[in-house]
């Protein structure tokens, strides 16, 4: 079985301006959503209390909200997780949040809704812990990008490819964040891990294409760069699609079967993988081309060596 029985010959680079336009529109939309709606940050980052409760029958969210408010908890966010019998309640940080009465107060409020309700998990995060996590997540992102830029510049001898890779790599997580701002799915620590894994995956693709570009340039230094880039993308196309199909299979399995804890995580991965496929084709190589990438940049010693070897 093969997706493409013959070598494809799509002219990806010819239409690059169109795709740049689309990407710019998508990025602006994502950033606008991030600014206007913002992320629905979980208590991992904001600090506060998260409770997961299970009910013997479908729970009425309105009744839960009323009882929680009656118990004296303000600004509670109440939502279903996975099914109508599982409810998550999030409370803002309280001064006395380590109080051991918290659980019994919440449980008694929930029992007024349904006597069979039980608290399944309770997590209390101090505000300073949340603030630090935000900082360390930002640092992790910055260091990942820096190291990757350096590695690619070193392996491929040119900042043009590094820049293409970094822009493609920024493109994907911004789209993922935009998706989370749009859907208001809870943004927690596992989602941060997923966003960083998306960076790794997107790069993985980009680097495979770059590797082929290097190889094509090595054999045909006279060919026009846009032809070489098209060849490289076409030759790796069946691999790109095959890998994405397989990875998507496992991520979909996680999304459907992994339960509520991993739902945001797998959604972020799925969006990121789709965006990564697109960006490694249309963004990373195309930007390097716009920056004037030629064979000389990857093999700088080539011409000099030729000159030196003349008698």
């Amino acid at each position: 079985m093969e997706f493409f029985s013959h070598q494809t010959n799509f002219q990806f680079m010819a239409t690059r301006k169109v795709w740049f336009g689309l990407s710019i529109v998508l990025m602006i939309a994502a950033l606008a959503l991030l600014v206007t709606r913002g992320l629905n940050l979980a208590t991992d980052f904001t600090g506060g209390v998260t409770v997961q409760a299970s009910f013997p029958a479908a729970a009425d969210l309105g009744a839960v909200r009323t009882q929680i408010a009656a118990e004296g908890f303000r600004d509670a966010v109440v939502e279903y997780v996975g099914s109508a019998r599982a409810v998550a309640i999030r409370l803002p940080p309280e001064r006395d949040q380590t109080s051991s009465q918290l659980r019994s107060r919440l449980e008694s409020a929930l029992r007024k809704v349904n006597s069979g309700a039980t608290v399944q998990s309770l997590s209390v995060v101090g505000p300073q812990v949340g603030a630090e996590l935000k900082k360390s997540a930002a640092w992790a992102l910055a260091f990942t990008l820096l190291f990757i830029f350096l590695y690619i510049a070193w392996r491929f001898h040119t900042w043009r490819l590094s820049l293409g890779a970094i822009l493609a790599v920024l493109h994907d997580p911004i789209l993922v964040l935009g998706f989370f701002a749009l859907t208001q799915i809870s943004f927690d620590l596992p989602v941060v891990a997923a966003v960083l894994a998306v960076i790794g995956y997107s790069l993985n693709d980009t680097v495979v294409v770059f590797d082929r570009i290097r190889e094509r340039f090595e054999g045909n230094r006279r060919l026009a760069p846009n032809v070489v880039l098209d060849q490289a993308i076409n030759q790796t196309l069946s691999r790109t699609i095959m890998t994405k199909v397989v990875t998507s299979i496992v991520v979909v399995a996680l999304l459907v079967l992994g339960g509520p804890v991993l739902r945001g995580f797998s959604a972020a991965l799925l969006i990121g993988i789709l965006a990564g496929t697109y960006s490694s084709i249309y963004i990373s190589s195309a930007i390097a081309l716009e920056c004037g990438l030629t064979a000389e940049h990857i093999f700088p010693s080539a011409r000099k060596a030729a000159v030196d070897s003349l008698p």
Partner: protein, 624 residues
Amino acid sequence: MLEYARWKYILIAVVLAVAVLFALPNVFAEAPALQLAHADHSAVTTAELHAVTAVLQQDKVAYTNAYVQNGRLVVLFANVPDQLRGSDAVDGKFQKKYISAKTLMPQTPTWLRDLGLKPMPLGLDLSGGLDLLYQVDIKSAVRQILQTYTQDATRALAEAHVPVAGITNVATGGSTVPNAIQITLGPQADLAAAQRALANPLNGLTMTTSTQSGGLVIRATMPEATIRQRENYAIEQDISILRNRANQLGVSEPIVQRQGNDRIDVQLPGIQNMAEVKHLLGQTATLEFHLNDTENSAYTAQQTGNVPLGDKLYTDTWNGEPVLLKREVIATGEQLTNASASEGAQGPQVNVTLDSRAGENMLRTTKANVGKPMGVVLITKHSVTTKMDGKEQTREVTTEKVINDAVIDGVFADRFQITGLTLGEAQDLAILLRSGSFVTPPVLVSQNLIGPSLGAANIRMGVMALVIGMASVLVFMAIYYKVFGLVADAVLIANVVLLTALLSMMHASLSLPGIAGIILTVGIAVDANVLIYERVREELRKGVSPQAAIRAGFEKAFSAIADSNVTTGIAGLVLWIFGTGAIRGFAIVLTLGIATSMFTSLMGSRALVTLMYGGRRKLARLHI
């Protein structure tokens, strides 16, 4: 002809054999178990094992296995009712001799256990339990030591009759907290005399002298290294206290570890009673040094029950003998600034440092009592919940026990050694002395409680996602790449085995994000195989002979696999370093998974393909 070096085949075979062995303990299902440990965490003996099994046989409680592991006695049962009956039988017979925990233990065969092989422990999100995050105010630990130095300096200057205009604590060198003592000398002060007096108490501090409008000023600054040392000491002391207490809870395997600069993470699998545990961990304990009463016999007091006036009767926890101590306190645990075990001239010893006030008291006492024994009493306070008339009542209980009783062999003050111990005893005593009271009590900043049913649901869903995701990939690869697809399938399975083995070796606990990491690793390992096979197909399309196509496929795919995995690996490593909790668990699996997938895809699949196709002289076509 394709060839592959024989040593590579041998290497792959050895690695896989070792991996299978290490991964094997994870296969066995868990059974209800009873874990018994001594409260002072001394090892349970084989004789005790026989005593316990004898009781179980006598009460006709069926058990499937019983053994001693890491100094704990483990009894496995076929079902929960047997476990409960077993627990009652043991508790009834050996009143409070053991801390017992009802838990789940894997039914690992004896021969695997004897090799020291264990399955990956489950993270709290899978096992259910309580996760507590404490913060230690390390700055206040530094402030305390600076105060002690200040007291010592004041006393030394007064004893040397050096007039002092003022002593303050100041922050120098860009420090945000006070890190230096500033002493302004009086108008007629003798600088040399002041420096002589301060040399001993302020030993280790950097001293500078200057003339300011108020007069001569001596500034003694704590070196950066001393401050770091003090901060680390405060954290490590809190960790050892929390670990000691967590061990007393009867949890099967509590984890107490440092997190970041000033945090302590306490994980208690299986614990659901939040309030009681938090109280137990946070309880305060104190130490007291008392002189022995050598004029009256402790044995007589124990037998008659008549304790002399001004005395208190204890039992020495080290040798079980009665001890009679005077009620007068020489020093308390709050005045203890350090205790460490070391190898001295007279064998192992514990080096104790007290603050200046306790040091003076100790000096006076020891001057008058050389040759007499002195006892160390550990006092702990904790709450006990009892049921009375169906109502739960909580009351505070104080326990006092003698943890050391030794002869004073000379006059000493704030620094002294306790000798006559084995090295193990010295280390334990040093921990106990340090763990008597928190220098800087840790503050609970975050807590996470996961119910047992949620844990069970998480593990069920995680394993289900893993099995179904993996199975779909295996089927898909076999259809898409035919024979080579089957090779890829073998390699993928080997990859999961290898990864499981590595994680088991590291005793990394398996959490839900970790399972997600394993599933993603399957995707990464597939990618490497896809890169190789697509390349082989490409070469075949060019009309290259099958064997040359295989060789070219592996060779040309190498740089793409290496570069793409290194970049993903960079992301994984950064997450490993910066991440905590869920993120770290995911990052460890991702990073190790990249390493194992490169090994299995590049070496494993090449070895397998060469084995299948390498020897054939005429190879018309490849099933790819």
